[in-house]
């Protein structure tokens, strides 16, 4: 049986372990053949910025791992438009292909998921 599992990312890339925890959940669900959707909102949009030199602070860059998402069959990546705008980020700065959603579209996305987790 397949369910749609939405992982809502709210945390910046290096504040704590949430970015990695969310990624691990997404990859696990994908490996077990579930339909995975990822939403980035708040500071989590910084996770998507390309060319992060995470090794300088002894961490792994989430955006590097995100480039592997298609390989795991995760193709549904969504970004909160307001979060991008308020942080001065352009779509071109993002390391992965993502669909930009306004607040109505985000409501619909949440509505559409069988299960949702916010990290």
């Amino acid at each position: 049986m397949t369910k749609s599992i939405l992982i809502i990312n709210r945390a910046g890339p290096y504040a704590d372990g949430r970015a990695k925890a969310a990624l691990d959940m997404a990859l696990s669900a994908a490996v077990f053949e579930q339909q995975v959707m990822l939403l980035y909102t708040g500071d989590a949009v910084f996770q998507l910025v390309q060319n992060q030199q995470a090794d300088l602070i002894h961490r792994k860059s989430p955006s590097a791992a995100l480039s592997a998402l298609p390989l795991y069959g995760v193709e549904k990546v969504y970004v909160d438009q307001a979060a991008l705008i308020s942080r001065g980020l352009e779509e071109q700065a993002l390391a992965v292909e993502a669909e930009i959603l306004n607040s109505n579209e985000m409501s619909n996305l949440l509505e559409s998921a069988d299960v949702a987790f916010a990290l």
Partner: protein, 112 residues
């Protein structure tokens, strides 16, 4: 402490399952010996997969789990090789774990 002895007599520290303790110890001669411990004799077919997995790790920071490994190999080396049976023929029953071990990638955390 378990060790791996290279042909030149040098010792490399491994854990009891045969994974490198220090990933920085990895080099091709070490891989040959790691493989031998897993009853795998490395040839060009094995090295092709090891190279793919290592460059994937450098790029993404991930050790590819089974299904991802199959897809990764299919993408990089063609559909003929991107199949479980092909990888199992090369690396035995648990190809993703064995490739990670030989390629000097971090031990997968058993999570997926």
């Amino acid at each position: 402490m378990p060790e791996l002895t290279l042909d030149n007599g040098e010792s490399i520290a491994v854990d009891k399952d045969g994974y490198l303790r220090e990933l920085s110890d990895w080099r091709p001669e070490v891989a040959e010996q790691l493989a031998r411990k897993q009853s795998v004799e490395l040839d060009t077919a094995h090295w092709e997969i090891i190279d793919i997995v290592q460059s994937f790790y450098r790029q993404s920071g991930l050790s590819p789990a089974n299904r991802a490994l199959v897809k990764l190999v299919a993408r990089e080396a063609g559909a003929e090789k991107g199949r479980s049976v092909y990888l199992m023929k090369l690396f035995g029953g648990k190809p993703a774990l064995t490739v990670s071990l030989i390629a000097g990638l971090p031990r997968p955390p058993n999570c997926f």
